[in-house]
Every structure is written in C-alpha cells, then in structure tokens.
C-alpha cells in the first residue's frame, strides 16, 4: 500500500526537519543514533558502516565508484537521506570537489556501540520489588486490547466499551484528517480515514505518534525531547519493569498517554511505580524502515466470494464491514460475503480496490497464506472489474461545433482538428463536430481564416 511507506517515513522527515542544533543535540544520545541508523535505506546503512572509522572526507566521485550504473538512483536517494538527516556533512574543496564526512558525534556513538556492545537505557527493576510481572502473552493481550479500544473510540465513540483517559481535545487532534463532522450528523470517516483503518498496526501507530508529536509544541513539550524519548523506548526489553522515578515530569506525562494507546503498562507497587513496555513499543524502531506486516493473519477468502475471519475483535468486524456484507458473527468467527453492493459502498467511500486486495492479502490466515495467490484470482479480478465499472465514463472538457455553412468548411475543420489530435466526435450527415478544449482556440482561428 503506497500510503504506508509515506506515513512511516514521514516520521523521519519530521526528525530531519528539526533545526540543525536540535538534531545535533539529538545525536548525543546513542539510542537515537542507532534508531536513526536502522531507519535509513539499506544502501545508506552500508555507507555509514563503511565510513565509520574513516576520519578524512571521501570525495563524491570515489563514492560513486562504489555502485554499479544500475544503482546510481538508489545511491543518490541514500546520499540525499544522509545529508537531510545531517549524518553526512558536505565540504567543498576547489581541487577535489564535494566530499562527505560522517557527523563526529554520530560516529563516536556508533564506534562505542560496536566495540562495547549494546547498552540498555536503564536497568530493569529487581524482582524483589516488582514481585510477579505479567507474562508476555498477558502483556500482548493487554496491548492489543488497549490499542483496539483506542481505535474504536477514534472512529466511533459510541462503540468503545470503556472510555479512555485521553482528553477529548487530544482525541480531536487524532481525529483531525480522519473524520469529518457536519452539524447534527454523527462524524463520518473521510477517505484517508478509511485508508488509515486498512493500514497495518505499525503504520497506524506511527501516524498517531506523529500527530501526537506535532501537537506537542502547543502543550509546551519540546518535540525533540519527545522524539528522543519515543526512540529510546523502543530499545527497552519487552516485559521488563522500569522504574518511573528515572524519568522526567514530561516523560511521565507522555507515558500516561502511551499507556492508553497500549504501548506500556503502568503498575504501582508499595513505594515505587513502574512501567512495562509492550511489544508495540519495542517494535517501534523496526517499523521505521519496514513496510510489511508480520502479524498473524485471520482472513480466509474463498473462490465463491465468501469470507471467513477467525477473529473476535470488534475492530476487525468494523473494518470488514467497510467492504463486505457481514452475514453472521460466531464466538470465534466472522462470516461475510464480498458482494457488488458492499464493494460499491466501499468505492463510494473512497477506498480503492488495491487497498482492499492488499488488506486481504496481508491479513490472510496462515492456512492460506502459503498458497500462491493467497486470495483467489477470480475474487481479486472481480473486485478490480467492479471498480472499473464505476470508471466506465471518461470525462474530457470539449467544445461542440454546429451549423457549418458548407460541407467543405466542415471537412476542412475535421481535418484540422484531426491534425492537432483534438477531434473527439464528428457527425458528417448533420455536420456536427466535438473538439477538445485545448484545440478550441486554434479551431476558432482556423474557422475565422476560412471565412475570409
């Protein structure tokens, strides 16, 4: 889905858009350096590792020799990215041309990481204080529940079972762009709202976080601090408890919001309180450069257009309702059918057939995921055909010419229009002509000349 890549990379664009001083300050934190390195395109990563111990600047020309002619475009993309994020600094020398050098702070941090191994941002709390921690499965179930509740509340406040602690103003910020509200009508999802629902979890998460961070300035929280805290969070170990008193006030407030999203679980002991990062949090840095979904699928699509979704989640039901007709819901199964009416409904809402098909493919049940193709071809073809049904009529702005004085003038006009490639339709019996708008002015000139 093209939308996914754009959103995930937009977070990095946000980082790159920070002023130079703030970015350099960010790089003093070793974890930021690692997270940003992991988000680079593969070729850029290689260049960084290669330049890690080189103190001198390397000329652009010698760098271009590292790639084959096929790879020049990727090379340029990688170099641009590195310059944008101020990892490479450019120097210009009249004799040798432009040359690049690695940002010294960045370089020092990475060198230390490579020789000394990875370090954790903070030590987990000993078991004596935290007693029993929730198991990894419990934690994942908790994270999923929180996230789905949040999403349900986002799109339709009436459906959510429990209310979240997120203030309504925050919710409105998140809903901006996803929902439209007309007076006296319940809020409806916009086109981007639908596309948002069909994206995979990590992309949705990054979208929400991006909105959260861009809104942070209004709440007097420094966005650079917030970004570094988010990236640092992804380096903690899932399921370990970390003391809250190691965080600043702002970070603690952020954590409370993140707990509502399902990224961390907050717990209170007798004296201390701690947070436990879930898989959603630790997967943050993975998804920066990744666009493929890796979670377990649940949908089986059959060749008779029936759909069986092995899921109990309300959110999945809502999403499937977007483009299929839900027939019945069993305790562990949602049965539906993909029909013409349901698809027309989806197309009306702005969802494209590609989005529906890639959603079905990415969420296909493990049983059918191995099959090629995971969604039967007749279903995918039919979805595309139904979409093209709606595009049968093509509109082009044109002008209509009537009442030609004589056949010769009409023929001349036809030929003239044909030469310019603007002839759309002609009727020689009644001497009528339809010409494209961009040729209209030329046609008028031509006819005026003809009359003289």
């Amino acid at each position: 889905m093209p939308q996914v890549k754009i959103i995930a990379k937009n977070f990095m664009d946000m980082v790159a858009a920070l002023p130079a001083m703030k970015l350099d300050q960010l790089y003093q934190n070793a974890f930021i350096c690692e997270a940003i390195l992991r988000s680079l395109p593969p070729l850029a990563k290689k260049y960084v590792i290669q330049m890690l111990y080189i103190e001198e600047a390397v000329t652009t020309k010698s760098m271009e020799e590292w790639v084959l002619p096929d790879g020049i475009s990727k090379h340029k993309v990688a170099i641009d990215r590195l310059l944008q994020l101020r990892i490479f600094s450019e120097t210009f020398d009249r004799s040798s041309g432009t040359s690049y050098r690695l940002n010294p702070t960045f370089q020092a941090n990475l060198q230390k990481h490579i020789t000394c191994g990875g370090v954790l941002p903070r030590e987990p709390m000993p078991l004596s204080i935290t007693a029993r921690l929730p198991s990894l499965e419990d934690l994942e179930a908790y994270a999923l529940e929180q996230w789905e509740c949040f999403l349900l509340q986002l799109i339709n406040s009436a459906q959510a079972e429990k209310m979240m602690n997120i203030s309504s103003s925050m919710m409105r910020v998140f809903q901006r762009g996803l929902l439209t509200q007309r007076d006296k009508e319940p809020p409806r999802l916009t086109e981007s709202g639908f596309q948002f629902l069909l994206m995979d979890t990590n992309a949705q998460l990054w979208y929400i976080i991006r909105e959260y961070i861009s809104n942070s300035e209004e709440r007097d929280v420094d966005s650079a601090d917030l970004i570094s805290f988010m990236l640092e969070l992804s380096f903690h170990a899932t399921g370990e408890a970390y003391n809250m008193n190691t965080l600043t006030e702002d970070q603690r407030n952020t954590l409370k919001d993140l707990a509502d999203l399902g990224l961390v679980k907050l717990q209170q002991g007798r004296k201390d309180s701690w947070f436990i990062p879930t898989k959603l949090a630790t997967n943050l840095s993975v998804s920066l450069a990744d666009s493929s979904a890796r979670k377990q699928g649940f949908v089986v699509v059959e060749t008779n257009f029936r759909m069986y979704a092995y899921s109990t989640s309300k959110l999945h039901c809502e999403i499937l309702r977007l483009f299929s007709r839900i027939e019945y819901q069993l305790p562990n199964l949602i049965v539906g059918a993909i029909t013409k009416e349901s698809l027309y409904n989806a197309f009306d809402n702005g969802i494209t057939s590609e989005q529906i098909i890639s959603f079905l493919q990415q969420n296909s049940h493990p049983r059918v995921a191995e099959r090629i193709p995971s969604v039967p071809e007749n279903v995918t073809d039919q979805i595309r055909l139904w979409e093209s049904d709606l595009n049968r009529v093509e509109m082009a702005p044109a002008h209509f010419y009537d009442e030609f004085p004589s056949r010769d003038v009409f023929e001349a006009a036809c030929d003239f229009a044909r030469e310019y490639g603007g002839l759309l339709w002609e009727d020689s019996k009644k001497m009528r002509l339809v010409v494209k708008t961009d040729v209209h002015m030329h046609m008028r000139e031509h006819l005026r000349r003809q009359r003289q």
Partner: protein, 296 residues
C-alpha cells in the same frame, strides 16, 4: 545471484552464519595474532546486529578435529527475561570459543603429518547449511541467509568431495558463500565456493585493516548487492582432487555414471559400483572411461 524469493522480511534482514577458523596450527604461525583478529570480528558482528533489529548471527567454529556452534544471537539464553540483555557477542562468544578450543585439542590423536594442516571446513559448511534449512522450514517469513567463511588454513584435498557437495547444495538453496581468506596462498575450495554460489571471495592485503574489509565488502545485505561494485573473482582454480588418493590432479579417469574422478585406472568405481571395461575395449554395453592422452 538472487536469493530465495518471497515470504521474506523487509529487504535487508539477514541471517549471517560465520564459519570461524580456529585451527591452532594455522594461528600459531600467522602474522596477525588471533586476539586481534577476534576483536575485528566481534566489532563486525556488532555492526551487523546494529543495522537491523531482526538481523541474526550464528558463529560456528571450525577446528582441526571438530566443529561446533559457539554463538547464536537469536537463542533464548540471550533474551532471557531475567537479565533483559541485548544480544552481545563479545562475552558469550569468547567464553564458548575457549571451551571449544580446549575440546578440539583434547581430540587431537596424533601429530599431523606433512606441512598441510587443514581445518574441517566441510564439517562447518554442512552444519551451517543444516541450520539454514531449519530456518527455511520454520515458517512463512524468514531472513535472507548467507554464509561467511573466515578462513586461513590451507585446503585439505581429502575434504574435496564433501566440500563440493556442500557447495552444490548451497547453490540449490540459493545461499551465497562469501569468503575472507587470511592465509598465505589462495584457497581453491573457497574460490570455487564463492564462484558457484554467487558470493564474494576476498583475500585482504592488509590484515590490520580486517574490520574495514569486512564492513566494506561483507556487511551488505543480499538485496543491495545487486547495486554495488564488489570484488570479482579472477582466475579461479578449478582443479579437482581424485577420489582414491585425494591428490590434486589436472587429468584423470572419470566414471561416466557418477562422474567420480580417479587418477589411476580402477576395475570398479568406488562411488557407484559400476564396473569399468578393460582399457582399449570397444564393448558398447559397458561403461567406458576416458583415456589419459598419451597412453598407449
């Protein structure tokens, strides 16, 4: 060479299996001390793990008498919830390596005869391929696997058959075998391995800069290799060794059924059991053998 298609993670997730040569006879005579070499290798392994959260590394030590796994970055011991540690090659790797070397020495039955002391490359290649096969069967999504041989000992012709079999099976599963050879003369086996499987063979000229060679040439994931200039192989030594005496030969006798190579005329093929005809026999039904030119 493109790697196994579809159902893989994002383009640059890799599984790197490193075959580390720990042959004591080689290292005692090498110009680069083993401790320095290991520090280069550990930095390189750390940089691979840094590039992507999902990258995995497995290190297999190739000894003189045995081979064993000494490090696996995805093993549960590294991710135990009690300590919450990130995968750290240095501590575990060195510990296990020491234990391995001691075990290897104990297995030494007698002093090796002759100047060529080879390590069990065939054994570690086979172990690497088995691990990779297990990963292939572990589910629909798996990382791009590749093998990196950090080798210095000379080739042992007695391992020719086993190594060639391993190379062909790697070619079949589309696993490239890269080699960084730190010994004195080029290794024909490793050159052939890299040539056949589409990997890279490198013999660094300055051993002090091993980390830079490793990070420049061998750190790239398989997808990006299509866009980079990598060292090309020139003059690969394709000579085979005979199956009977394990000598390297240029010309010899070949069984037409199973293509085994012999340096002297035999009555029967030792691999497939086909009976060879008499020299200069023109019986059409029996398998014939190629004649050594110049033979009367």
């Amino acid at each position: 060479m493109a790697s196994a298609p579809s159902k893989l993670y994002a383009d640059d997730v890799s599984l790197l299996v490193v075959l580390l040569d720990t042959n004591p006879f080689f290292w005692s005579a090498s110009s680069l001390p083993f401790s320095k070499f290991i520090s280069h290798v550990i930095s390189f392994l750390n940089s691979i793990l840094l590039l992507n959260q999902l990258n995995q590394i497995v290190v297999i030590a190739t000894g003189h008498n045995c081979c064993d796994y000494v490090y696996d970055s995805s093993s549960l011991a590294n991710r135990s919830s009690g300590t919450g540690k990130l995968p750290a090659p240095s501590a575990d790797l060195l510990e296990k390596l020491e234990e391995f070397v001691i075990r290897d020495e104990k297995l030494l039955k007698r002093e090796p005869e002759g100047p060529i002391v080879s390590s069990l490359l065939s054994g570690s290649l086979s172990m690497a391929l088995c691990y990779i096969q297990r990963v292939f069967r572990s589910g629909p999504l798996h990382p791009h696997p590749r093998i990196l041989c950090l080798h210095g000992s000379q080739d042992g012709p007695e391992q020719y058959v086993a190594i060639m079999n391993a190379i062909f099976s790697a070619q079949r599963s589309m696993v490239p075998i890269d080699s960084c050879f730190i010994g004195a003369q080029n290794s024909a086996f490793l050159q052939q391995a890299s040539y056949i499987t589409g990997g890279v063979y490198l013999k660094p000229q300055l051993l002090d800069g091993t980390f830079q060679y490793l990070s420049t040439v061998f750190a790239t994931d398989l997808h990006s290799r299509g866009f980079l200039q990598l060292p090309k192989s020139v003059g690969v030594d394709f000579r085979a060794s005979c199956f009977c005496h394990k000598k390297t030969i240029d010309m010899g006798y070949i069984c037409s059924v199973c293509l085994s190579i012999f340096c002297k005329h035999h009555k029967k093929c030792s691999t497939c059991g086909s009976v060879f005809g008499q020299p200069q026999s023109d019986a059409a039904s029996e398998p014939s053998k190629k004649r050594k030119t110049g033979d009367a």
